[in-house]
Symmetry: C2
Subunit: 342 residues, 2 copies
């Protein structure tokens, strides 16, 4: 690897001169700068950021710590971050936790050792104590899920309101046997969504047993399939389904398609997220749309500013984006005549 020293020896100048010429220092003559730059290009010099960092410069790497990049929420976020950061000269490091706190810890250890400039994290349900320590030592912000003990900045969507709205829509249509399928209460998002579901039920004056909650692994398509299969076979099958995760929605849609369930006549469905296939599924899937892209952009901008300016610790910041119900054809009053047509 070519170093500034190689260039210096080649030109018969000192390393300082080379360093300054490359940094466009005004004290260096234009002629020298020209010769240095030319030599650098010819010799294929590429600066060594590790050495720079030793001299106190910060790295230009920001890490994104998420459960699984295949989830379109997260790939959208990664894309949005990457795009915004590239413009500022930052690179994106990707760490997948698979919702395993030990994997999350291992990643945070590596990221800390690599002295990343900042971290954007969707924390696991209950992060390891060391993870919390490591995060506290870094500029970071939380995304979607909020682990309160971190006490740091958070960007997320209004999960409570989104599920309340979706459930209220079904209650208004007269459903009295509604099942919510979502992630575990341990996850901040899971807890919020469940609360939103429950509060819509009580707002609608429905008794407790009107709503059932099926909680489980939120990122398992297969779990969605199995659960809905079980629900349909059960004695008091629901007339409406509200979903609390993309993967569960995908599983449910696959299963309902295969079993040729009559939606919305026999079952109303409100999905989560808005994937490409949702619009052409059966009668069109009514679903909870979330402004993931806007949220990711906001969070990228926030972090970029935070990294460029000094600490500026003006207390924890919270940005809550509202969701919106996208109405299509998969919901109708219970027992309505089959309305599906060519």
């Amino acid at each position: 690897m070519i170093t500034t020293r190689d260039i210096a020896e080649h030109l018969g100048v000192s390393v300082s001169t080379v360093g300054r010429a490359l940094a466009d220092d005004p004290r260096i003559s234009e002629e020298t700068k020209f010769r240095v730059r030319q030599a650098a290009t010819e010799m294929g010099y590429v600066g060594n950021r590790a050495a720079r960092m030793m001299r106190g410069a910060s790295s230009n790497v920001v890490a994104l710590v998420i459960p699984d990049i295949r989830n379109s929420f997260y790939s959208t976020i990664a894309h949005e971050l990457s795009k915004n950061m590239e413009a500022e000269g930052y690179q994106l490091m990707l760490s997948e936790t698979d919702d395993d706190r030990m994997v999350e810890l291992r990643h945070l250890r590596e990221l800390s050792a690599n002295r990343v400039a900042g971290v954007i994290i969707v924390p696991t349900a209950r992060p390891h104590g060391e993870s919390v320590k490591l995060l506290r030592a870094l500029p970071h912000l939380q995304l979607l899920r909020r682990h309160t003990s971190l006490g740091s900045q958070w960007f997320g969507v209004d999960d409570h309101e989104a599920l309340r709205q979706a459930t209220a829509h079904l209650v208004t249509q007269g459903h009295t046997r509604i099942t919510y399928m979502g992630g575990p209460e341990e996850l901040p998002t899971g807890a919020e969504r469940l609360r939103g579901f429950r509060s819509a039920l009580s707002d609608g004056g429905l008794p407790d047993h009107a709503g059932r909650a099926e909680l489980g692994p939120p990122s398992s398509v297969e779990h969605g399939r199995e659960t809905v299969r079980r629900l349909l076979k059960g004695p008091d099958a629901p007339t409406a389904l509200v979903l609390g995760s993309i993967q569960l929605t995908l599983g449910v849609l696959e299963e309902l398609s295969e079993q040729d369930v009559n939606v919305p006549a026999d079952l109303s469905v409100v999905g989560f997220g808005d994937e490409p296939g949702f619009s052409w599924w059966g009668p069109g899937l009514t679903t909870i749309g979330l402004p993931i892209q806007e949220m990711a952009t906001g969070c990228a901008l926030w972090l970029m500013r935070r990294l460029k300016t000094k600490p500026s610790n003006d207390g924890p910041y919270t940005s809550l984006s509202p969701g919106s119900l996208i109405l299509r054809g998969s919901t109708a009053p219970p027992g309505a005549a089959a309305s599906a047509s060519g």
Copy 2:
């Protein structure tokens, strides 16, 4: 930030001792090791990889350079790589090029400056000369697209055979007006897929004008919609469509759903890739399935081995994975009676 020196001073030993204790050097007594490790944990010491790299250690970062992480091919690849590399202690850097060679160049410059251990790249159509130079100086391999002037290892799928097979299926059913929609010929994958399409036509004894090719931006959903809209309106609309990219397929499916085109009676469609919604689209989408996951795993393993062992430059290696046609309901002989049913 705590350094080995801080620990050394705290314990009244030398930095060498601390360094060796943390590296589990057999020359250090167990008692000292214990004290050092305890102090390190208490003081929250995190090793500085930048400093290590200065001493010749290689980084533990591998970069993935792709057009767009939102494309499920690439997010699958990223996931597979991340998973395999995490097990070996490597971290994944994500660089999106948006198929822009200048963005690609900027990323490669940054990656080189950061001294990444290796690069896995899906090159743009015509990489910049400097990009080629930078790549040559790094352990790297190409994925999906093969830029031959790099002369390096390549992992990909048999695009030619995949399209040949898909097109042959339509030819066998008697179609004589088939349109292929895909990426530009500049892209290695685009050229291969087009060749596959053409060779199926000539194998089937069809005249040149039987097949039409609509080439354009492969990652634009909107372009897919527009193109199919135009084709359907045209004077000699095709009776069958073969697609050469996921995004185009998504656009086409959306448009055909909205326009209520009768598939396969009025139009047969063979998609590209196998997204969740493809199975429940209309009569079920017949599509070209590609073993992306297996390919990504193979390429992760190859790079891991390459990084752990010495150069081992036993010539360029090529791994070609076959695709397979997934038959569903979206293809039928032209003009067949509508067979779609509840």
